[in-house]
Symmetry: C2
Subunit: 234 residues, 2 copies
DNA sequence: AAGTGGTCTAGACCACCTA
DNA sequence: AGGTGGTCTAGACCACTTT
């Protein structure tokens, strides 16, 4: 049973992701949304509240809600913390690996029945070819992922791929620390071992509490600042 | 004009801070709280939602809401991200400086009228004397702070002191990055320049959007992991 | 079975922003 | 002035946890 506000939030998030609602565009008013989805205004506000926490929209009293899909999202998902790239530095995302792996240790830590995961490893680089982030996404395997291995990610996006398979995040946890690059990671990033990187681990759960995705990211501290906020803003 | 749910949240937060509601203790049911505060259950739920986001309580369907005041809070305030110390490592907090400073650059960045701040600098150390964090708190100056300089912090707590002066956080932003220790910070921490520390900057706003507090923290990555969460948990 | 939180409704009044 | 979000109410039904 999916709550109505979750269904509304997913529908609006889908519009944002697909570009029907573009960055900085204003959403319809809450009363209009209530009429469109056939729910009360309170339910609409629950959905908008969720999208705010997900960092997809910003809401301004007296003006309306606006899409804020500018920051690059870690792991391309509904990250709570935005990882903001320094402005004016265009980057590219390169797929390192897309496959199926057994990770018993990770499965045991998350208390999963199966140890099989869909694995997506990616590196983000500047136009000059300097690698600035390494993202490892681990998604508990589902039978329907066979098509993913054959055809690749939908629109090159993990988020879009997961949405196609009915995986919609409803919450999660994030841990942030500093990592000293080991030889493996340093080689993948084209850097020397011993450099200090920001490391984040995000675990996303669906509405039933099942693990959807585990993303571990290594972020170059000169290019990324993690930011989040809540409550009354100035 | 303070919203009712904010007043309720502040009252409950005060009980938690004072220890009337202890860690892991169950709060009264939502209907009981509604009757006690003379508001509707919806307003109580807004207040509890705020306390959840602040990390002060956890709520479980069918059981109730429980105080979760275990993690050490950065800057002793309503930090959104908990900074979790490694377990079993008792620490002490030492006051380095408590005074009044002019910080024009900070005031300009935050668009404040006055450049005067109450400044509190503190170092956290292990029992063995190893310094593991440096917290710098900057609070826009108020006339009533004269007593703080004379008598010190209430209960040794910035949060308690601010509450006494009517300063209650309602929201804020946080930025997280990696800092390489400079000579000044290294000396204060008794460490060598060049070490990588986690750096966070938290800005707290009150219900009117005024800046309450700016906290900059340097955290030893082996002793602290930043964590946060929201939404459905497993 | 009783109590708890989770969700939802329909209505209301207010402060804020835009025109 | 009209539209927008912010807050609040009183009631309802449900799923989950506890007794």
């Amino acid at each position: 049973m999916v709550a109505k506000y979750q269904a509304v939030a997913s529908a609006l998030a889908e519009r944002i992701r697909r570009g029907e609602l573009e960055d900085r565009e204003r959403l319809p008013g809450e009363l209009d949304l209530a009429e469109e989805f056939g729910v009360s205004r309170g339910t609409i506000r629950q959905a908008l509240s969720f999208l705010q926490r997900s960092g997809l929209i910003e809401t301004w009293t007296g003006s309306g809600s606006f899409v804020s899909f500018d920051g690059v999202r870690i792991g391309d998902g509904f990250g709570w913390t935005k990882s903001l790239e320094r402005r004016g530095v265009p980057t590219t995302l390169k797929l390192l690996a897309l496959g199926r792996l057994e990770l018993p240790a990770l499965a045991a830590r998350l208390d999963l029945g199966s140890a099989e995961f869909l694995c997506v490893d990616r590196v983000r680089s500047t136009a000059e070819g300097e690698a600035i982030s390494l993202e490892r996404s681990r998604i508990p395997w589902r039978a329907s992922f066979d098509t993913v291995l054959a055809t690749g990610l939908t629109d090159g996006s993990i988020q879009a791929t997961m949405a196609e398979h009915g995986l919609i995040g409803a919450g999660g946890t994030e841990a942030i620390t500093v990592a000293i690059l080991g030889s493996t990671d340093a080689e993948l990033l084209g850097r020397r071992p011993g450099e200090a990187f920001l490391e984040t681990e995000q675990i996303t759960y669906d509405a039933f509490g099942s693990v959807i995705e585990i993303v571990t990211s290594l972020l170059h501290p000169a290019h990324f600042t993690l930011q989040h906020s809540f409550g009354k803003q100035p």
